[in-house]
Each structure stands twice: as structure tokens, then as C-alpha cells.
């Protein structure tokens, strides 16, 4: 009988237990596999997994450890991989019927780095088809359901990874983020995720949505675990990496008062229950010695227009060949967006990129006065699966647009952004807090997240199954 208490431990705790010989890697993997087998039917988080193979790899780790060999920092840690990362041992479909590639010649670069560090890939997680949507309702393998209440969406497009973490089927997962696709399901499912600075993590072997907006990144149950994962994933040979800055996280201390900018105004509207949790989070930061300062960023509507134009142009460019050969294999909603992208002119795309350049410079000037921006990841908690429109603070938006409502900002600007849990809404669904920093401050953000999690336990809460109705 597997020890399910192991599934409530963080990566560092599991590693310590394995290192001291109190627990074997096989016992760790068996515990998470038990949860997967218990909860995957209800959530549809994994679309492919191989328990036997994972257990066999765990036994190999145990045998190696017995020889006294130096082990990687993730030895024996089960990992879920979003279905748009190429993997040697599982098919990669991007949640679609369009892409059924022959086995790749190698793993995605990031998957290879994590395996080298000892992680054990348990399987591939469900995603919004081609990552072209943030609800995870649209997938060739069916919708992903939120472990906190299976009548609700997870948020996407890395919704399978979010659900797998929330249900403690794995302690670590991979996501990708073009307009919030790591942070949105992290917030919707009550777990943690970071969209790294642009190009900090290799996208080699990750099927793209929009290559100047995309980021690959880790998801986990705590900011501390994200630090461990990101340290392994960072592409030290990549064009965005600057070792001196990345290696020295400036964790705020009592010596220097932390300043957090809180964007306000048009584009930052919120539902009341999310506002309540967000205000409590601000108070916690104040109690921790931070100063929270409201700040006008401006140009949100213009930035959103530029983001949408770039996203649609680049996504369609990637899909032109598939569109001509297999158009009918796309989900209707995804094909609609791709066909719409064909109508954007080159001039509009170039002007959007040009605007982006100035927008990012102006945003950087505003952000330079702060350690980070603090904002809610989502303006609402995860909508019902059949909910099409949401209304809050005088605005009415589609479920899709509510998911990317503020998250797109970090992608347009190429900035790091972290989502961590900060409470629950009136339906008992998690609320996410987003911290966004200047370029290259990924580990500083994680430091702020870790500080918040020393004062709160939202990240340790787990759903109770069966979770078919609101608690």
C-alpha cells in the first residue's frame, strides 16, 4: 500500500527523505502513481502515462544510490510533461488530432535537462489544443476538469499540469505560456507556476504557438520547488541568460524595504471575491515589511491589441502547412482563430512589434521603481465548464478573455511572472496572486514568493475528492 502522505511533500522534502534512505524512489513514485490512478478519470489531467516504466526507472535510481554515486538534484522526482514538449518515450500531439509526429530524434531540450538531473517522466498532460486557448475545454482528448470542483475548468493551456499538481499526482510539471498558460492554470488549480524571462528557458523541442511571446517554464506546489526546477531548466547557453544576475537572487531582507507596485485602472478590473483575497495578500506583504504602491501603467488596451495581433500572426504562420493539409482535423474554435490570423497584414504585424518595443521600454521605466508588480493572476476564479461569459466590475468578457485578462502583459514585455495561491473565492475555488518583475529577475520573484509562503499555507491546501460540487 502506497504511503500517500508522501504526495503532500515538496521536492526538497522528498529529496531529503530519499537521500537519508528513509524512503526509496520507488516508494515516492508509487505514491504519486496511486493518486494518478485515483484521480485521473475525474480530472483528465494525464493523456498518456506509463506507471510501470516510471517505477522501473525509480528502481534504477535506488540501485544507483546504493552504489554511492552522486545523484542529480531531482533524482527520483516524478515529473509531468505538457503534451507540446517532444518526448522520446511518449507521443506528442499538442492536444490535437493534427500533430501525430513520428517519434522525435530527441527529447525537448528542457525535458533532457530535467532527466539528466534525475527526474522521472510519469507521462504527458492534457492541454488546450495547440495551446491556442486558455480554458483547457478544447482538446482532442477531452476537457480537463478542476480537481477543486470538476464542474469547473482548470484554466489553460497547461491545464493538465495544473490539475495533476493540485491532485498531487506529481510534485513537478512543465507548462508553456504565451498569454498566461502556465500562470492561469496555476491560479485556477491552486498551485504555483512561473513564466520565465524570454529565452531564459530553451523552447527547443516545444511546439510553438507564437515564438516571440512563448515561454517554457515549471509548475509545482511551492515557490521553493519552482526555484529548484528553474535552476535545472535555465538555458545557460541561451541568448537571454545572464549568469551573474540570474544566480544572485535578491531575496528581500529586513535591511531593505521591499516596494511592490500594484497596477490599477483600465484593464485591471476584478470580481469581488478575488479582490478580497488579493487585498488580504497585500496586507500580508505589508505585515512582512513591504510597501504596496498603486501605480498607473497606461496603454493596456493598446498593448492588448498588439499582443493579439502578434499572437494571431505568428500562430497562423506556424500552421499554414497544416491548415492546407488537415484543416478539418482542428477543433472549430482553434481553426477559426488560425483562419482569422490569415487576414492580418504584414504591416499590422510589424507595427504591432514596433509598438511593443516602445511599450516595453515605457513599462520598464515604471517598473524600475519597484521590486515587482503585484496583481491578481485572474480577475475571476475558474469558470464553470459551460460558462461562456463572465461579468465583473462593469465589464463583460468571454471565459477565454477572462483567463488572459492581465496575464498577456508579461508575454508582450518578455518579463518573468510568478503565480502563487493566495486564498479561495466564494465558490471554494483557488485565487492566484501574480508577481511580475523586470527582465532577468526570475529568482528575485521566487524569493518574494517564498517569503509570502513562509507566512501563508494556501499552497499546502489540497482538494478533497470527489469534488463534484462547490464545497
Amino acid at each position: 500500500m502506497a504511503d500517500l502522505s508522501l504526495t503532500h511533500k515538496e521536492i526538497s522534502e522528498l529529496s531529503a527523505l530519499m537521500l537519508s534512505g528513509q524512503v526509496s524512489a520507488r516508494e515516492v513514485v508509487a505514491a504519486f502513481v496511486s493518486n494518478l490512478e485515483l484521480h485521473n478519470v475525474a480530472t483528465n489531467a494525464f493523456i498518456a502515462f506509463d506507471a510501470e516504466k516510471a517505477l522501473a526507472r525509480a528502481s534504477t535510481v535506488d540501485a544507483l544510490r546504493g552504489t554511492g554515486k552522486t545523484m542529480g538534484v531531482l533524482s527520483g522526482i516524478p515529473l509531468a510533461v505538457k503534451d507540446n514538449y517532444l518526448t522520446l518515450d511518449f507521443p506528442t500531439t499538442a492536444g490535437s488530432r493534427v500533430y501525430d509526429a513520428n517519434p522525435p530524434k530527441s527529447d525537448a531540450r528542457t525535458v533532457a535537462l530535467l532527466r539528466e538531473a534525475g527526474a522521472i517522466v510519469l507521462g504527458k498532460t492534457n492541454m488546450h489544443e495547440w495551446a491556442y486557448g486558455a480554458t483547457n475545454k478544447i482538446s482532442a482528448k477531452g476537457p480537463t476538469r478542476n480537481p477543486w470542483n470538476t464542474q469547473h475548468i482548470t484554466g489553460g493551456s497547461s491545464g493538465g499540469s495544473g490539475a495533476a499538481l493540485a491532485a498531487r499526482m506529481v510534485p513537478a510539471a512543465l507548462g508553456s505560456d504565451t498569454g498566461g498558460s502556465i500562470r492561469v492554470p496555476a491560479a485556477g488549480c491552486g498551485v504555483c507556476g512561473i513564466k520565465p524571462s524570454y529565452d531564459f528557458v530553451s523552447r527547443e523541442g516545444v511546439l510553438p504557438l507564437s515564438w516571440t511571446l512563448d515561454a517554457a517554464g515549471p509548475m509545482a506546489t511551492s515557490a521553493r520547488d519552482l526555484r529548484i526546477l528553474l535552476s535545472v531548466m535555465i538555458d545557460k547557453a541561451g541568448p537571454g541568460f545572464n549568469g551573474s544576475k540570474a544566480d544572485k537572487a535578491r531575496t528581500p531582507t529586513a535591511k531593505r524595504k521591499m516596494r511592490l507596485g500594484m497596477p490599477i485602472g483600465l484593464g485591471f478590473e476584478l470580481a469581488n471575491d478575488v479582490r478580497s483575497s488579493f487585498e488580504s495578500a497585500q496586507e500580508i506583504f505589508t505585515d512582512l515589511g513591504a510597501e504596496v504602491v498603486p501605480v498607473e501603467t497606461g496603454e493596456m488596451m493598446e498593448g492588448f491589441a498588439a499582443w493579439k495581433t502578434i499572437l494571431h500572426s505568428e500562430a497562423t504562420a506556424f500552421h499554414v502547412k497544416f491548415l492546407s493539409e488537415r484543416a478539418n482535423d482542428y477543433a472549430d474554435s482553434v481553426r477559426t482563430q488560425l483562419e482569422a490570423g490569415r487576414c492580418i497584414t504584414a504591416a499590422d504585424y510589424l507595427n504591432a512589434q514596433q509598438f511593443r518595443r516602445g511599450f516595453n521600454d515605457r513599462l520598464d521605466v515604471v517598473m524600475s521603481a519597484f521590486d515587482a508588480f503585484i496583481l491578481p493572476t485572474l480577475p475571476v476564479t475558474a469558470p464553470l465548464l459551460d460558462e461562456e461569459f463572465l461579468h465583473f466590475e462593469g465589464v463583460s468578457v468571454s471565459a477565454q478573455d477572462s483567463m488572459t485578462y492581465v496575464a498577456w502583459l508579461a508575454n508582450l514585455a518578455g518579463l518573468p511572472a510568478l503565480s502563487i495561491p493566495c486564498g479561495f473565492g466564494k465558490q471554494g475555488l483557488p485565487v492566484g496572486l501574480m508577481l511580475m518583475g523586470r527582465f532577468g529577475t526570475d529568482f528575485d520573484l521566487l524569493g518574494i514568493g517564498e517569503l509570502f509562503q513562509t507566512a501563508t499555507d494556501w499552497h499546502r491546501r489540497t482538494p478533497t475528492f470527489p469534488s463534484h460540487s462547490s464545497p
Binding site: A305, K308, A340, C343, D348, Q354, R357, D364, G414
Partner: protein
């Protein structure tokens, strides 16, 4: 801020696709695509989509920015 709503219609989309040799869409799909284009382009305004005579630099300057600020 001057907004310029998209001018795409069912007819103009069909004609455009025909001129490019792209397959005909069902009428339901054509309608959805027009709505989607408007959803993107109705947000357009002169601030974003008029470069003011400056050349658009696209990606390379952004990569430069990444390197400089990294």
C-alpha cells in the same frame, strides 16, 4: 485615440480567400472567422498601428534589448 474598426465582411472574406486560392469555408465558419477578425482588429487604434513614419524594427531590436537588460 482614434479607433479604426475592421472592415472585413462575409463577402470580403470569401472573395479574399478565393483570390488566394484557399479552400471555401462553410457559411458558419466564415461567420465565426469574421467575428474573430473583428475581435482582433476592432481593438486597433492609431497609436499601435501607425508607426509614424519610423521603420518597424521587428525582432532584432527586441533581442538586443534582451541582451542589454539581461
Amino acid at each position: 485615440m482614434k479607433k479604426t474598426p475592421s472592415t472585413w465582411t462575409l463577402q470580403s472574406l470569401q472573395a479574399y480567400r478565393k483570390s488566394r486560392g484557399w479552400p471555401e469555408l462553410s457559411s458558419a465558419m466564415t461567420e465565426k472567422v469574421v467575428v474573430a477578425i473583428h475581435d482582433i482588429q476592432d481593438h486597433y487604434d492609431d497609436k499601435v498601428f501607425d508607426s509614424g513614419g519610423e521603420p518597424a524594427f521587428l525582432f532584432q531590436p527586441m533581442m538586443g534589448r534582451v541582451r542589454n537588460n539581461g
